[in-house]
Amino acid sequence: MKASANTLEKNKTKKTFRELGLLVFLIVLCVIFQAINPTFFTWENLADMLRNTSILAILAVGMMMVMVTGGIDLSVGAIVALAGMVSALTVQYVPQLPAFIAILIGMGVGLGCGAVNGVLVAKGRIIPIIATLGMMNVFRGLTYLISGSKWVSAHQMSDGFKSIATGGIGPINTLIIIAVIVVLIFYYFLNYNRTGRYIYAVGSNPESAVITGIKKDRILIMSYTLLGLLAGLAGVLWVSKFASAQGDTATGYEMNVIAACVLGGVSVSGGTGKVGGLLLGVLLLGVLQNALPLINVSTFWEDFIQGIIILVAILLNISVKRRADKNALKRREI
């Protein structure tokens, strides 16, 4: 059983390294930023950064769930826009509407959108990237249609609505609180709930999931619907934060969300992905977006540098993992 003990050991090193490598990279990056601009590590800046990262975190949790099933959702940016626009228009016409109702409306829209994606993938058997690519355009088009291609601006929104993103409990902003709650709920759901674990089972081996008696189609529909729901919530928060709802809100944002997931160790082929790793991925993206302007990088260079750093992080991760594998092999006696 010597060989098996070795594979176990190898496996363990692999797991810890994956997250550790990312953490070290994140810390090094922070130290560099701090050295260039000492205002990086101030309470104000960190709070600001977390606030800006909250929406990404909410979306990434949902995206991870869909990616664990082996799928992907390209329409989240469009759902954010549509849900945000619907809630903003509602507030524009009914200014006295309580803020939490506006949130519920946005979540309802997102839920509907996600359910459509889920049914197309599970029942229509369209591959996820195509189904959601199609729906991305549909949702985006709907956003322009219902708004007549006009913006809903700050002065057309009630103070209550705008205060969703500006208010908070004590010094902590509402967005951060909501993100933390979402992450905690989904952490529990994905690790300590049967249905949550079945998402992993479906992604890891779809055929045997069916043999085991797991209702695969239901799990798929549920995953896309929950992501839709989270995207709806994110839409309302987005519009409230920027105090503006536009047709092109969050265009291309799905790519940031997917990048955060991949950085966090979520496998594109399904089956793997952990909330802990995901948070590191989200934080890395958050730090980049916050710090690059802070160290006076020209806006023209921001995307470029961000892309390079993401690739470097992933390459580092892979090479650390390869080295760990290689060392494990060397330890094996022949």
Binding site: Y200, S204, N205
Partner: protein, 497 residues
Amino acid sequence: MDEYILELDHITKIFPGVKALQNVNFQLKRGEIHALMGENGAGKSTFIKVITGVHQPEEGTMKLDGKPVQFKSTRDSQEAGIVCIYQHSTAYPDLSVTENIFLGHEITKGKMRTLQWKDMHAKAQELLERLGANIDPKASMGTLSVAQQQLVEIAKALSSQARIIIMDEPTAALTKRESEELYEYTEKLREGGASIIFISHRFEDMYRLADRVTVLRDAQYIGTWDVNAISNEDMIIAMVGREIKQLFPKRKIEIGGEILKVEKLGRTGYFKDISFHVKKGEIVALTGLVGAGRSEVAETIFGIAQPSEGKIYVDGKEVKIKNPTDATHAGLGLLPEDRQKQALILDWEISKNIGLGNMDRFRDGPWYNKAKESGTAQELAEKMAVKASSIYDKASSLSGGNQQKVVVAKALTSDLKLIIMDEPTKGVDVGAKAAIYEIMGELAQQGYGILLISSEMPEVLGMADRIIVMKSGRITAEFKSEEANQEKILEAAMLGE
């Protein structure tokens, strides 16, 4: 209490256009191990799926404990205490061993039905220990060997308190030693009170384990016998419907000069000090337990992986093989272990599959010459005696043995001197096996050298001129075929020097 725990009476299952099962009868006694035998396509898999509720039969009745039952889904059969360990691993590679064991019947607590990981890990550990298996329940399933994965499946059957356990070709991917262990575990399951249906191609499984045996052929019920009361020959006749005179048509072949020589070949972490040679017209078997490093040696010779030390000679000249293309140019061919995944494109026609072996050969300037491809394919398919209505049939329409012939034909499009065959008969039935041995003999006769990688003892003893045994990455013994026997090989494979 009835003598029989499970009875199937005149079961017929029809798929559009085919009768997959016709009037099949089956009785499982309490506490017995009942072997179910038959060639591929005999209807064994459909039969299991009827018992587990994946398929519903058109005719016939099924009784559990003497009472008629109808299973609408696998969940129904699971609730009735029937568990199936499938041939193709149904494991979840990304999930932990514990989760693989408990998926579908997790331990939960409270109104929220929170999963109790601590309890499940502890329970899994206990189950695995009860089987005497040294496996970490927290490890991911994907990091375990096939044999270990099967143990986990057995632990799973134990944990669900199954009364009837169906094992679908559990030994197909195991070595002799691992099979031996599996027999022990299977008997432990029986001692625990389970009745077992054991499906297999191997006679040794049946003799070692089963009390009774039922044979299916061409979707029909042939008969049920006490294992002690049926001879090997009668069994083959029952399964195949004809007599297989000689499974190993070993030919007398003039052995020529040396083709391949490997000197002190090594690859860090896999094998070391591997030296041997293969001559013209010679079949050399490389055997050992799974994990001994045989396939890794073959991969390295063929350029899929790089050696860390040692030299390879072809026709006396040293060759540097950096990739499979180099290997092919040097005159080496590899028939991979997994025919369907690694060697064939099942949706393509036979001719295209053969052409894929050496596309350069069918080139006319910048164009691909289809007529040339078809001509060569036709010639090679005839040479290998591929049974198909034409070379434009899809590869998926062929039987296992015929698919293997196409794979050989594909390799022969290049100018080869030596062919490496990696487990060429894994998972094929008796008839197809005979066909593959025939091919092997034919190739050797034509002057090819053959390096046969196999863990099937009868095959190694029956076909090879020389037998090289590996254990844990090293060669532990070499025998001429006339001086080798099963015991000697096993000793070298398990104990080494």
